[in-house]
């Protein structure tokens, strides 16, 4: 009981620190709330507390070509030191360009989303290594798993192995992909859940992050493709030749649309959750502007309670989207790695019936 009270107290203390921090930083910035700015990537990392106004600036790294045509790799501690060095100037849109002409080839800067990407993956790694250490000592193999941590871990791991990998990938191949699928599930879950913290950023609400994740799935899918998979793409069995002329481009396009849809789905789901909460809280300020403070109080009660519900929904969606990403990755890999036991004609006839009865 005392411990529970202490936890509640600590949580409240934590929240009050982080909210007072938001107030402080919003007062010295612009008055207009920038909706896309709250979900966009930044060159700083927000922390609860008052260090540098709650912001830690991150290093900027550029691979750029100067006006003389030589390419250079420059690294600076922060955006401020980039401008102080005089080699780059800021344009009106806020982008950095070399001062003496030339252009940036690749912007390799470390950003807040990248930090949260690393943190999500690192957390997944640390938890998995911790659990692996326990299994190595024999806890969970010779005796039952002990403690909440190991039990939750085992439930998640067995879920990914049995319900995601083995259900969708051929049985003798499935276990090879479990490490990848589990990493994806844990990493994306943590990245999504970090977005629920008041000062943190959702790394997966950035298309570049989700595209990178989907690209990994794409590469693994292509490399695990069997002869049958490539045959179905370039020379679809069991159809007339003129149909193949239509089917081959469609199948090649399908190779790329699958991971593309994977990236867009995760990105849009995480982005829409954030924007929805901002929009509903924004109603308070819109009503205050239009009808005065009284209406704003009324709408405030409605908005805040709705936001609480949405927040819980977001926590659920965070896990659900990680699951869907993992599940679809497994389905795509399973489709590519499948060994077809069918002949060219009997695709849907005796063979598939036999397979069903055998299973």
């Amino acid at each position: 009981m005392v411990q529970t009270l202490r936890r509640v107290f600590l949580t409240l203390l934590f929240l009050s620190i982080s909210t007072s921090n938001t107030f402080a930083s919003e007062q010295d910035e612009a008055q207009v709330l920038d909706v896309m700015g709250t979900v966009a990537d930044h060159d700083y990392f927000k922390v609860p507390g008052f260090i540098n106004g709650g912001k830690i600036y991150l290093p900027r790294i550029f691979y750029w070509e100067s006006a003389e045509g030589e390419s250079k790799l420059s690294a600076y501690l922060s955006t401020k030191s980039v401008l102080e060095s005089g080699e780059f100037v800021e344009t009106e849109e806020g982008a950095l360009v070399p001062a003496n002409g030339g252009h940036i080839i690749v912007d390799l800067s470390i950003t807040s989303h990248l930090i949260y990407f690393w943190m999500g993956m690192l957390l997944a790694l640390v938890l998995t290594v911790m659990a692996a250490g326990r299994y190595k000592r024999g806890i969970g193999r010779t005796v039952e798993p002990q403690g909440a941590f190991q039990n939750i871990f085992e439930v998640l791991f067995v879920f990914i192995r049995d319900d995601v990998a083995r259900d969708n990938i051929d049985h003798h191949k499935a276990d090879r992909y479990v490490p990848f699928l589990f990493t994806m599930f844990m990493g994306i879950s943590f990245m999504n859940l970090f977005g629920l913290l008041p000062w943190a950023a959702t790394a997966t609400a950035d298309l570049t992050v989700t595209a990178t994740l989907a690209f990994v799935t794409f590469v693994i899918t292509q490399f695990s493709g069997t002869k049958d998979y490539w045959a179905h793409i370039f020379w679809f069995p069991g159809v007339p030749t003129w149909v193949r002329v239509i089917l081959t481009p469609v199948e090649i396009l399908g190779m790329f649309t699958k991971p593309f849809a994977l990236a867009i789905r995760l990105f849009a789901n995480m982005l829409s959750g954030k924007i929805m909460i901002i929009a509903i809280l924004g109603l308070v300020f819109i009503f205050a502007d239009l009808f005065g403070a009284g209406a704003a109080y009324g709408v405030g009660i409605f908005s805040v309670s709705l936001t609480v519900v949405l927040y819980a929904l977001k926590a659920f969606v965070a896990l659900l989207q990680a699951y869907i990403f993992t599940l679809l990755s497994a389905v795509f890999i399973g489709m590519a790695a499948e060994d077809h036991a069918h002949s060219e004609e009997g695709y849907y006839t005796e063979h598939s019936a036999e397979e069903v009865s055998a299973n």
Partner: protein, 73 residues
């Protein structure tokens, strides 16, 4: 014009996605009612299919957001 297009587009996207997911829900609940012991498999297939529809719908929604923000003009 961009805002109008985004509004109409978002409406059509919601219409299509709602129709699709509604049909999945109908089929899934009907089949669970008929065969309650297969509800686990049906639920998995339902989430998978819903995710595919959602992917297309969100693609439309993202394009509507881009239109509304005037990106690409």
């Amino acid at each position: 014009m961009g805002l109008l297009a985004a509004g109409i587009g978002a409406g059509i996207v919601a219409l299509g996605a709602g129709l699709g997911i509604g049909m999945i829900g109908k089929a899934a609940t009907e089949s669970i009612a008929r065969q309650p012991e297969a509800s686990g498999d049906i639920r998995g297939a339902m989430i998978l299919t819903a995710a595919f529809i959602e992917g297309v719908a969100l693609l439309g929604a993202v394009i509507c957001i881009l239109l509304a923000l005037g990106i690409g003009q």
